[in-house]
Symmetry: C2
Subunit: 600 residues, 2 copies
């Protein structure tokens, strides 16, 4: 069973060397006084300690035990409650919330970096505070002052948790057709009635109260997505001072049996005239949700990254330890009866792939989190708008690609273990099972692909894509005289051109046939993702070259960065060619088969 | 939970129209009298009835219940024993065995086609007779006449089953380092001592006796693979007339907790001076195993195909049924509140991918099974040698690619279901969990890749590859005037050239550095596999065009073949480009990172 070791050195590389966080955050007035390299490192070390020593040891046992359901109550696996208590004691629930409600007012970036460690060490557990954060953030952004006073302090302290109640059994990707209704009560509250499914952390024994954020329809609301409103529905009613009152009419009626994330309760929630409070404007519930969506999607991206990282750690340890066959170029450990399998190129390729996905994913995720902070806190409106656009553009890429590459890494993790990977006790198959949800929830890979191509790229008439292209061009320009970077810059230059021409190609075809967008979207997402990774790996290579040129005691670390960049460019980046070629063939072969001719 | 429906029409297409089985088998004296289209269809229908009505209904329940272990005894899930009884009553265990020992003397092809249905409808169950077949075949090929008389009749009738005991906890891919020992007894038998793990069907309640085929070392045997011998070790000792006697000293000490195939007992087997009988020559056990290996690997390939087929069937039904969002080109079912998701290109792409893998895999598997029969039964030694070579070449491709594509299809199956795919009751996640073993056992994908590139292609100095290239060239030549086929032939022609030049490229590099072989092998396997599929899809397209030109009442069926061929060429075949480009970059980026620099 792989035990988690926080990759602090690599996290620091991305934060301090690649993104230069300290410098960048100095320009944001809210963080000018607080954010320093030292503070970040202190938080990282505290989180690493908690994740390695509290969460990692209950990860596998939590999977095996799962959650227990008994007459509406959910008991989490052994150790989950105690770990949650420690987590709140350490103040991790209050990181980003406003000091007005008891928060520490720290940047999202810090929360995201810590969430990487939480997800890696115990994905199922990490979802409890993860969902609570979603609820907290929604109230902070859209609640009235009274709602904030009433609900936020206990959410911020972690005494309460929260959920996001969106999905119904017939409505997942398509929220426009939800049926849960909200009828006005005389006191200004609403009676919420309906059944929600797939409610992560909907019921559990970690916290005193659970604050549900619920999508529902007001009477006579327009049909479709424009008739959905958002409500706060507490498990226990709460007075204005935040004291618990009677039980509200919301109950968990069962929990799902799932492929993975067994330690997290996925609940069917029944709202039976439950008292709820409208949050945000009537019929604008989905819009309110969308402000939260980017951050929720980065959260899921972190889970994908976590799968890559854990699968890499497990596989690497095993590959150094397990003996089988001799190296093709002669025995490497002649004193043993076989060589460790890390000498074999096919095993190395899998490890390098995991490493490239994990470290590249880390760079992308932290870059995104930085855009969240700049978008929210910058006083320069141009910079703010730019960051918001970059965030909007990169979010579907990060969500879809980090989760898909996380699944690929998890597969390699099992594969490196051979038959032992299939055995429960080694813990590698759990990573596959846990990771599988990540390409499904918070918008499937297919939904992300449409979001990227249709909403972000085509609807903005290329503006959001051009921002990204601009970043790449700037990087090429800045380092055009760097001979060591030339192979990277040359390839980036080609990719950038191809990206633009593929986009134009799709836009042109889509004018004739809108199905062209859907048919191209998934390949387009992968093409875009590999290109974004290529940009980030080139940037990381550039930093490593700079450090090596300047002289460093960490030669091995920087050389490993260069080797991984090279591996990414030589072995993984060519996948763009398959995706580009597939895009160019258009929609015909996808659409022509009649529905009744798929099987006979 | 998807219920299995045997794709009889497609099976018949491959058997009767693509491979022209009846005609081909007329040239094999053993089958001249027996094999007809009618006979094949009768067997297919009987097997379909059994699989759809007996095995499919206990597939999901078997996964959920799993096997029970109690003091050395294993109880299989509810219904497994009764289904096995029916299976033997129907005579399926005796299909291919020689009539001398009670068999029906039918071709391997028929067994393989039926095994597709068994694996698709209930993978875990199908492994019990699958392993028995392995043991049976080994004894038939390598046993003495006395051993055959003693062990075969009850194996053939299915009253007994069998296993293959190879793996030890420290030795999986590398059988050269096994430790189980065989010491001569005064009576000519051997005392077998050691522990074997991952023994599928090692203990269970389906049969009266279990005949283990065990790899062990004789005293003073040479070290490595050249010092391994093969033994028959029955669970109950047997007299010469085949009557059960006392219990042998072999026992199941535990069963593994696994990711999937829960209905099949994966046993730790302890041999404590168990009585065994040498089979085949001393120290040639691995060679004896290898004659069985190709057929075992086709068996695993069938499991991969089964995963594709089941995932396709489940996803297709759901995609026609589930409503979400509107088609990008306008509502397709305006009377409903959303369109069925099969209208969406991204969903269609997943279904078409599964269909292309499943039907292409079927063609490859049946073609291979045909080579087994020709290799064994042809009286024309040139034809025989050619079939054996083709089999040797295509087996690692079929084993690795059908299982990897089966895993990909299973993933798409879950994805089409969205969040519901993650829920146990829908049965789609079981396909992912079951399928995961198939790229691990019977030689991992990486082992198959080395087998293909190093043993089959390079060691034969290209001869085995040239056979395949010859088939492609012949096909191109035969249909060069067929305008409708031109896009396929042009692409095949390019691929064939590229295949040769990649091979030369690797061979040249390997002379400098043998690691080049390992570094290229997995990409080479994928390149080869997609090219073989391209050949088969072109052949299927040609048959479909011919039928349509001749006039048929099955227009839809043949047009669907053409659409699927087109989809394969346009959307999946371009993956060769990524693999080719990765091969061309060589081993450096795979090998250069030092072992202690993978993580910091």
């Amino acid at each position: 069973m792989p035990l988690y070791k926080a990759p602090l050195r690599d996290m620091q590389f991305v934060l301090h060397e690649l993104l230069q966080t300290e410098k960048n955050y100095q320009s944001l007035p809210d963080y000018q006084e607080t954010i320093s390299r030292e503070l970040i490192d202190q938080y990282l070390e505290a989180a690493a300690d908690f994740c390695e020593n509290e969460l990692s040891p209950i990860n596998h046992s939590g999977d095996q035990e799962g959650c227990h359901f008994n007459q509406g109550a959910v008991t989490t696996p052994v150790g989950f409650k105690e770990a949650y208590q420690k987590y709140t004691d350490l103040g991790f629930t209050s990181l980003t919330a406003s000091p007005e409600y008891g928060g520490q007012g720290l940047p999202t970036l810090l929360r995201i970096v810590i969430s990487e460690m939480l997800c890696s060490s115990n994905w199922a557990w990490a979802m409890y505070p993860g969902l609570a954060h979603g609820a907290m953030r929604t109230i902070e952004h859209h609640g009235t002052e009274q709602q904030k006073q009433k609900f936020l302090p206990h959410l911020v302290s972690g005494v309460w948790t929260g959920t996001m109640c969106l999905t119904e059994s017939h409505a997942g990707s398509d929220l426009g057709i939800i049926r849960t209704k909200a009828e006005p009560n005389p006191d200004g509250s609403y009676a919420i009635t309906g059944e929600k499914i797939f409610i992560s952390a909907g019921e559990h024994d970690l916290a005193e109260n659970i604050i549900h954020i619920v999508l529902a329809r007001l009477p006579n609301a327009p049909s479709g997505t424009k008739g959905i409103s958002l409500f706060i529905v507490p498990k226990f009613n709460v007075d204005d001072a935040g004291n618990l009152q009677d039980r509200n009419n919301v109950a968990c009626t069962s929990i799902e049996h799932k492929m993975g994330i067994h330690g997290n309760a996925t609940c069917v929630m029944n709202f039976d005239g439950a008292k709820g409070y409208l949050i945000g404007p009537e019929n604008r519930g989905l819009n309110c949700m969308f402000t939260f969506m980017n951050s929720a999607r980065i959260g899921t991206a972190m889970q994908g990254l976590a799968a890559s990282e854990m699968a890499f750690q497990g596989a690497l340890n095993y590959a150094k330890d397990r003996l089988a066959m001799r190296s093709l170029s002669g025995a490497k450990c002649p004193e043993k009866n076989a060589d460790p399998i890390i000498v074999h190129p096919a095993v190395r390729s899998m490890l390098m792939t995991q490493k490239a996905f994990s470290e590249g994913g880390r760079a992308l995720a932290y870059l995104l989190a930085e855009q969240v902070d700049i978008g929210e806190k910058s006083t320069d409106s141009t910079q703010q708008a730019y960051s918001e656009e970059l965030l909007a553009f990169l979010t579907p890429i990060a969500k879809a690609f980090l989760t898909e590459s996380g699944n690929e890494s998890a597969k390699h993790g099992v594969q490196v273990f051979g038959g032992h990977g299939f055995i429960v006790e080694h813990g590698m198959e759990q990573i596959v099972r846990d990771a599988r949800i990540s390409t499904l929830y918070e918008g499937t890979t297919e939904i992300q692909s449409l979001d990227l191509l249709a909403r972000k790229v085509l609807k903005s008439e290329g503006k959001l894509l051009n921002n990204m292209i601009g970043l790449i061009e700037q990087f090429i320009q800045d380092h055009r005289n760097n001979a060591d970077l030339k192979p990277y810059l040359d390839r980036l230059s080609e990719l950038k051109q191809q990206w633009l021409s593929l986009t134009n190609h799709i836009a042109k075809r889509a004018k004739q046939n809108p199905e062209e967008i859907g048919a191209a979207s998934v390949d387009y997402l992968y093409f875009s993702s590999y290109t974004v990774f290529a940009y980030l790996w080139a940037r990381m290579a550039q930093v490593a070259l700079e450090k090596l040129a300047a002289g460093t005691q960490e030669d091995k670390f920087y050389k490993a960065k260069l080797s991984t960049a090279k591996f990414f460019y030589q072995k993984l980046l060519h996948r763009t060619e398959a995706h580009a070629a597939a895009i160019e063939t258009g929609a015909e072969s996808v659409m022509e088969l009649e529905e009744d001719a798929f099987a006979f």
